[in-house]
């Protein structure tokens, strides 16, 4: 059986593909790597030759770039080559924002060029005791008689006993 000849996509089709990929990504495409990731999600397994794939990919990218500002043609997420953005985020993050309100105030997105991400570290790692219950706490500095003192507080804000003094 003869193989079907590949028909190069029309400009309307390119536009349609571009729009659908952009809406699927929810506006998260910021560079070539993020674009590759979302493009390959839909067209990675298409039975096309390498040249055909490249040309179509390039056309769709150019169309998207012309429509939306802030899409860089560079590869910003180099480490994982666009395959695993979280891995890149972990390695490139300069500031780790843990508070959701602060995250919103800074205008950071899940994929952000500044390297901001949503990685949260649970600060409650030290075990203390509150009313006879073993709880996870975090160390805080409070002022007693105008002097800074280190204490433990649990998730509810209750002061916990010092683990060093526990038996």
């Amino acid at each position: 059986m003869a193989k079907k000849r590949f028909k190069s996509p029309t400009p309307e089709e390119i536009e349609r593909i571009s729009d659908s990929i952009w809406s699927d990504s929810r506006g998260r495409i910021v560079d070539r790597d993020t674009y590759d990731l979302h493009y390959d999600k839909w067209f990675g397994s298409e039975d096309l030759s390498t040249a055909q794939k490249t040309s179509m990919k390039e056309k769709v990218f150019q169309d998207m770039q012309s429509k939306h500002d802030g899409i860089s043609p560079e590869h910003l997420y180099k480490e994982a080559k666009g395959k695993d953005l979280k891995r890149d985020q972990k390695q490139t993050a300069k500031v780790v924002v843990t508070d959701p309100k602060e995250f919103k105030r800074r205008g950071a997105r899940n994929v952000d060029l500044e390297g901001l991400d949503t990685k949260r570290v649970d600060p409650y790692t030290i075990v203390g005791r509150v009313k006879g219950k073993a709880v996870y706490c975090q160390p805080v500095t409070i002022r007693i008689n105008n002097k800074p003192v280190e204490r433990l507080r649990d998730r509810r804000g209750r002061f916990a006993s010092n683990p060093d003094k526990m038996r």
Binding site: V127, R129, K133, A134, V135, Y136, P163, R167
Partner: protein, 274 residues
Amino acid sequence: MINQTIKKYYRRTDVRFEIVKQLYRREFAVLKPSYMDQSKKNMRMLRCHNLNHFDYIMQYLKFFSTDNFYNFYKSLATYYNGIPIQKLNYTERGNGDWKQTHFKEMGSYDLMIDIDAGDHNDIQHAQYSAQIITEFYNKLNVPYYLIFSGKGFHIITPGNYFNKSKNIIESDNIYFLYSAIARYLYNNFSELVDTGIYDPRRLCKLAYSLAIYDDSVYVAYPLNYYVELDDFRLKEYNLNGFDKPVTKRGMMLFNEKGNVKQLEGVVVNGKEKV
């Protein structure tokens, strides 16, 4: 050096005997320690009802001839006929049907309260948590085994004290009850209690087996007396210098003539009738 000590420990007849004794009609599993390369296959669904089975599995794993060590686990569930007889080679196995319908063969399913310290430095908090939970159990006359697991404690109540469905599809099943009990203990006694471990195929560490970590090896030793918990010292359970008795020791079931009615009442109805 430590590798030789591990091998020497598992060559002891009394240790092997105590391990095999717990595995009757249960699933035996060998899993790689978390710090090791996970590319090696872990093995589940092993049948180990006697010392010959155990030796055969050890031989298959090349446990004594290489340095591939495993942690040993048993299932919380017991099965009427045990795990199906089968070959150890994965490609020749076919357990798909059995996995679908295994709850029909389930005789009992133990309640395990897992108190996990997270770090060996926090073991005193795990000890304290185990103390207050066992006190609570004693107050309600709940039967239980108490086992040191390597980084925490397991408080295991045999499943034959509970009378609930083991089918996870049914609404009023045993896993909901266990989860509720764990959440109750988490809220009232200790945040070290793990609340997310209640599903039909859960495993727990075998008593008298070794808990292998990257820098140390501990013996998962059942604590058969209250004194052992009160005077618990982590050093004594380290494999280096371990000299506690194993022969004919078994596991002590505290409050053997008790029941779980009060515990269920406390958790389900929120009423403590003591």
